[in-house]
């Protein structure tokens, strides 16, 4: 990586955890700024706007979610939330509040780096909503012609499935919560998660070679769905 190093703001109160993140990111060419509290984080973010933010939700001087909401008022930098597995509700809340992704503790260096790279890539190549052709992995979506091909073969989708796939593809690589998907496809007041599951199951059967072992259209249990754009660890 010869271009100027990306700045990652690490907001985490545990010192050893911060040390690990600093080592892992530093050794892979990122510039790391550390903050141990909401106060420090806000100061650091205003002084030098970061390219990405790693945010632990449990902080000593407040809720990480509040920080996230405030950050989102002025910053579009991708935010990756660090959280424990059984904290699905927190993750969903963070994603709904504008976080880009989450990492479940414990995680390895490779996973961490992959997520940061995806987030950065997305931040750089934000797609216009009316982009005529969207692609993710083998999937090609022609928005103007309402056509979808998987590895060159055309598949027929119902209008809802098409809308669902477009929504996922526009944010390819990123996890979308149930609520975000329902809102995009059914409208702001929809809460019927099982509609989503029904259509998602149908969509998966049309796109995946083996719907029980999906490669592209993956489930994030308790959180939502993700359309992967590359196969990486």
């Amino acid at each position: 990586m010869s271009e100027p190093a990306d700045t990652v703001l690490v907001v985490e109160d545990e010192v050893p955890m911060r040390r690990f993140l600093r080592t892992a990111l530093g050794s892979h060419g990122f510039h790391v700024v550390e903050a141990g509290s909401i106060h420090d984080a806000e100061q650091a973010a205003t002084e030098a706007p970061p390219d990405a933010i790693l945010l632990d939700l449990g902080l000593p001087d407040g809720d990480g979610l509040d920080l996230l909401k405030r950050l989102r008022e002025w910053s579009a930098a991708p935010v990756i939330v660090l959280s424990a597995r059984e904290r699905e509700d927190d993750k969903v809340a963070a994603l709904d509040a504008g976080a880009d992704d989450y990492l479940t503790k414990p995680f390895g260096t490779a996973e961490l780096l992959a997520r940061i790279r995806v987030a950065l890539r997305h931040a750089r190549t934000r797609r216009a909503p009316d982009e005529p052709v969207i692609s993710a992995g083998p999937i090609q979506i022609d928005q103007s012609r309402h056509e979808v091909t998987v590895a060159g073969a055309q598949v027929h989708l119902t209008p809802i499935e098409f809308k669902l796939l477009v929504t996922l593809a526009r944010h390819a690589g990123k996890v979308l919560t149930h609520r975000q998907l329902l809102r995009e496809v059914w409208g702001p007041r929809s809460t019927q998660t099982h509609y989503l599951r029904v259509h998602m199951a149908a969509l998966r059967r049309k796109i995946e070679a083996d719907p029980a072992r999906p490669k592209w259209l993956t489930t994030e249990p308790g959180i939502g769905y993700r359309l992967r754009d590359t196969i990486d660890p």
Partner: protein
Amino acid sequence: MTDDARPDPEALLAQASPRARLKIFFGASPGVGKTFAMLEAARRLIAEGADVVCGVVETHGRSETAALVHGIEQLPRKQVVHRTITLDELDLEAALARKPGVILVDELAHTNAPGVRHAKRWQDVIDLLDAGIDVYTTLNVQHVEGLNDVVAQITGVRVKETVPDAVLERADEIELIDLPPEELLDRLSEGKVYVPDQARRAVDNFFKRGNLLALRELALRRTAERVDRDVQRYRREQRIGAAWPTAERILVAVGPSPGSEKLVRAARRIAEGMHAPWLCVHVEVSDAPPLSTADRDRVEAHLALAESLGAEVVRLAGASVAETLLEFARDRNVTRIVAGKPTHGRWRDFLRGSLLDTLIRRSGDIEIHVIAPSEELPPKRATARADATPIRPYVVAAIAVASATAVGALLDERFDLPDDAMLYLFAIMLAALGGRGPGLLAAGLSVACYDFFFIPPRYTLVVADLRHVMTFAVMFTVGTAMGGLVARLRRAEEASRQRERRTAALLAFTAEAAAAREPADVAAAVVAHVEDVLAAPTSVLVPDDAGGLTASAGLEPLAQQEIAVARWAHEHRKPAGRGTGTLPEARLLAVPLAVGDTSAGVVAVQIDRARRRIDLAPRLFLEAVARQAGVAIERLRLAAEAREQALRAQAEELRSSLLSTVSHDLRTPLAIILGMATGLRESAKPDQIESLDTIVDEAGRLGRILNNLLAITRVESGAEVRREWVPVEELVGSALGRAEETLAGRDVKIEVEPEAAVQVDPILVEQVLLNLLENAAKHTPAGTPVEIHAERKDGGVVMEVSDRGPGLPPGPPTQVFEKFFRGKDVRAAGAGLGLAVCRGIVVAHGGTIEAQPRDGGGATFRVWLPGGTLPPAPEAAA
């Protein structure tokens, strides 16, 4: 009082169930053509194909009526021989056996001959209706019970054959057969109206134009009221809101006077006319002499009549009838009070004060209706009757007079007393302290002794000087007046003493109930105080788990039928037993411990045969105690509930804070270890890679154990699982995604029915699948295949994870699901939690899990969870 704005649930129920219809052809007097109209209606029904039978129709020998009867199936009459005459009656048994669609029964008010099932024909009609047979019948206005008085006043003839108003109300349809009086009189003179010979004279009085007009008006009004009610019912059925403005509320006060009966009927008519609820009260004056048994029975009869006519009956006690009445009336927003015209002389009002006068003076904006009593019933003075006559005061009276005589004689010898009469007056006053009787006795004895011993000529009863007669009169007057006064004071004192005692008992009880820690304490306090005041064995019954009532306090056991009385009181939240309208013959009085719509139990007071009933004041005390007890028990129940809830909330809070602490404090170091190790591994020397791999693997394993520990805590907390519909395919997909590394190098065969879906918490069930897959990987040689199978079965989905490993360890197959169970194979040592977690999660979802050896080697783990097919989702819902 029911709120008219809200549909009454019982009324709604009644409207829901189809029942036999009663149609009444209603007329103002005989001869208007009711029977004719009924027969015509019957013929129309027959023409429409209905199954109509003629039960009883009196043609009275008229050919036009007979012509109409012809062609309608006739039910044979029942011949009843009564004394010398044979009477034709409706054959109820035959009618019930024939079970026609509609039966014609003329003259609803008819009294049956002795010896048939019911005394009255209307009772036969009720039986027919209950059997599901529609009834057409005829009725004249003067036979309506509630109008009986009015009709008697108009016509001067009191009709003995009456039909209760309730039967009229039961009618689904009332058709008024109206004939102007002139036409009726014409028909009468033409002989077209049947009149029995023996009633000729009465008829001449009855069929006067004025009478007929009044009766016609009565009938029209009665029908109009009925129509009004039908409209009301229609509105209710159609759920038309905007209640009827029944701001009126009528109150009638009754006493032992027979005139009260008329007051009750009058109040009901007024209330009916206004669609207003009405109350009937009896006030017991606390310092008045107790009512005689006959009077008390009459009061109860009047109250019972009012209740049967639809009044709310209330018994009150107070110092003054007028004050108590008015206070109660204001309390209940009564707008009109119905009172009787006084029947006693003016002097009594002058002496005692007039109830009516006080009522009118103090009623404020409450209207007072004054009703004249029936003249045929002269007011009967209620006489107090002393229950037992104590001898002592009389003995005292005799001794006092004897002493006065002795002292008089002694003094008379020494001095010449101006008037020995003073001594006797003193003796009379002393004796009168024992009451009116002893006072009178002393007066009589004094007169005799005074006359005999002191008045010349002495030792004879002859009175020479007429002035002494004056002295005798004074003696008698003093004796009676003093005696009466003392007796009254005594009663007042006794009443206030009793009242004080009850008040004190109630206060003490309230304090004890407030301090009670559990319902049994309240029950014990009830028993203690009620037994003390009422001097009768008392028990408190509370509902038990079996749905019955069991004694919570009180020593005297209750017989089975007495418990039934208590149960009635409990279920209907109304007093029952002796002295009430329900099961009045029972040997106990049961009062529910009612609070609002619930009853916390029953207080039952046993009454022995000698004691006829509990007086009003003690009964009011009993009801007050019951109410207080109900409130106290309800309060304890709510407090216990709140305590339990607080405890649960506390436990839940503790659990979740523990969970998040463990989750955070264990996972953070684990995350650091794993992260550091993976970081190091990237730049490690080859000989270090293996060690770092081990660190990474073990950290991963620790993470998985942690996940399982958290999952089992979550399931075992007993909290309700969150359920959503999830396709099994999706669950299998995400579990496989997470088990990718563990299953590396194995052939995984998947057979999942695409439509199968379960109603579960997806995170927990994914954990089940993951654990089963990891378990398979752990206990089978590397490279052996794993199979996943899922299909719908028995209202759910069965999911199987099978392997080709060494099979299950020896022993019962369920042991593998025990917590911390580990197979013999130490190489694959785990915490022994994985399968226990699976079972915990599955059971929490209401599912089953089992392990089975597999044909051809290996093991199958089978999970069944409730579910089926995903509920359909609309293609476009936006």
